[in-house]
Amino acid sequence: MVGGYIIYKSIMVVLIFLIGLGIAAYSTYAERKVAAFLQDRLGPNKAGPYGLLQPIADGVKMFMKEEIIPDVSNKFLFILGPCIAMLTACMTGVVIPWSTPIIFNGVSYPLQITDINIGILYVFGVVSIGVYGIMIGGWASNNKFSLLGALRASAQMISYEIAMGLSIIALVMMTGTISLGEIAAQQSGGNWNIFYQPLGFLIFITCAFAECNRTPFDLPECETELVGGYHTEYSSMKLGFYLFAEYVNMFISSAIISTLYFGGYNMPFIGRFVTDPNMLSILGVVFLFGKIFFFIFFFMWIRWTIPRFRYDQLMHLGWKIFIPLSILNIILTGAGILFFNK
């Protein structure tokens, strides 16, 4: 029984790891296609049908490039930086509830690697470690542009983590749990948190953009202003890891946004058409991935719509607007709970 459990969990871990990487790889393709379509272009269409092999071509290119480690850099930390970025990006996936358990031969197999009861805290903890990947990478390069880029990135990520955490507190007050599995289960039947926490959602998604270093908050690596930000000195697959970690992060943030505010694997009224629990479970995965893909698209859509913030505007928005707003949101939620005795 224990052996079966370990095998099942290992399969889940590998599966989610592979799915995460696959989606991240095809996010790079989707990003280029979406960017092209939003700009009235065709986008990559040479590698394979509709350019579908483009991510593989990019990966091969990254591997084939010359690997340069600067003489003046701290070599251990220089290599550690992208490793941390990639590791933390892949680690967050384990607490996301992909769907309700599948019952097979009388044994229930939960479609969640582990439902630790502090799921949200775990996500926040791992995401916070992600800052080290950028900071260490920028510092170890021993280059002033990398250092400045790393400073910008870490300052931005730390500032926005506060507002992100505060916006989650209101949600936690309402749901009464910080386990992601329970939060997802509570939202069945169209009882999505977005309807109770619209302000919190707005703050959360904006902070998620800032955490992923996506436009309009892509100051750490804005090509037009900096030499390349914290990964100026990086080349070959180490650069690839930084860029790739960003796309994995985007996938995970989309999954968390869907789980926290958009009902996760739940879809209203589906219970009327399908009653088989296993079928519902599989449909749940489909719905969750539909939501995730929408949010990944939304990330890209925003990227080509809103111009980048100036650095002081970014800090102004983070500290003077989002933090007071999220505190106001906590107070409003508290008053609501007290008033409606929910």
Partner: protein, 187 residues
């Protein structure tokens, strides 16, 4: 003030709706989404090509007559008329036995057009009294090498068995123009 179009800057305070930016963001998202579904302005070039005009002015051709003899007599009018100074040539005298290669007693031993200088205006074609040079609807292929862009007779002269159709550039107006007395020697 000269154009009467100057605008006075108004530093008016933004209203609350403007300050929260959300309506503006949603407006922007709608604008970009409209572009998502719009017809693309670029094309998949080597597979599909843009429609070009019937009398397009592309790569030149040096014509030969129906017997396969070159029409050019190296008179130099095209080079003189060329505003970009892209054409150079060296004349030579026809020897005995070359009557089937060159139409008249004088011919161009070297005839070069620098495709990097050429502006494809068509003045060489207009100046030519022998109907020897025409612009065609073929595009000049790109090259990574400047020397390759200087086209000699090997690239410009058409083959007698594979003549380039230039009838689109000989419209009735052009032919009527060429019927004038001073062009009678061009028969």
């Amino acid at each position: 003030m000269l154009t009467n179009r100057s605008k006075v800057v108004v530093n008016k305070q933004m209203t609350f709706m403007e300050r929260i930016y959300l309506p503006a963001v949603i407006g922007g998202l709608i604008t970009t989404m409209k572009h998502f579904f719009r017809k693309k302005t670029t094309i998949d070039y080597p597979k599909e090509k843009r429609e070009i005009s019937e009398n397009y002015r592309g790569q030149h051709v040096l014509k030969v007559d129906e017997k396969g003899a070159e029409r050019c007599t190296a008179c130099g009018l095209c080079a003189v008329s060329c505003p970009a100074e892209a054409i150079t040539m060296t004349a030579a005298e026809r020897k005995k036995g070359e009557e089937n290669k060159y139409r008249e007693e004088k011919y161009a031993a070297v005839y070069e057009i620098n495709m990097l200088r050429c502006i494809f205006c068509g003045l060489c074609e207009e100046a030519c009294p022998k109907e020897a040079i025409f612009l065609t609807d073929r595009l000049v292929p790109v090259s990574g090498n400047r020397d390759e862009m200087i086209y000699g007779k090997d690239k410009l002269t058409e083959k007698s068995f594979n003549q380039v159709d230039i009838s689109k550039r000989q419209t009735p107006e052009v032919l009527a123009f060429k019927q004038q007395k001073q062009y009678q020697h061009n028969k």
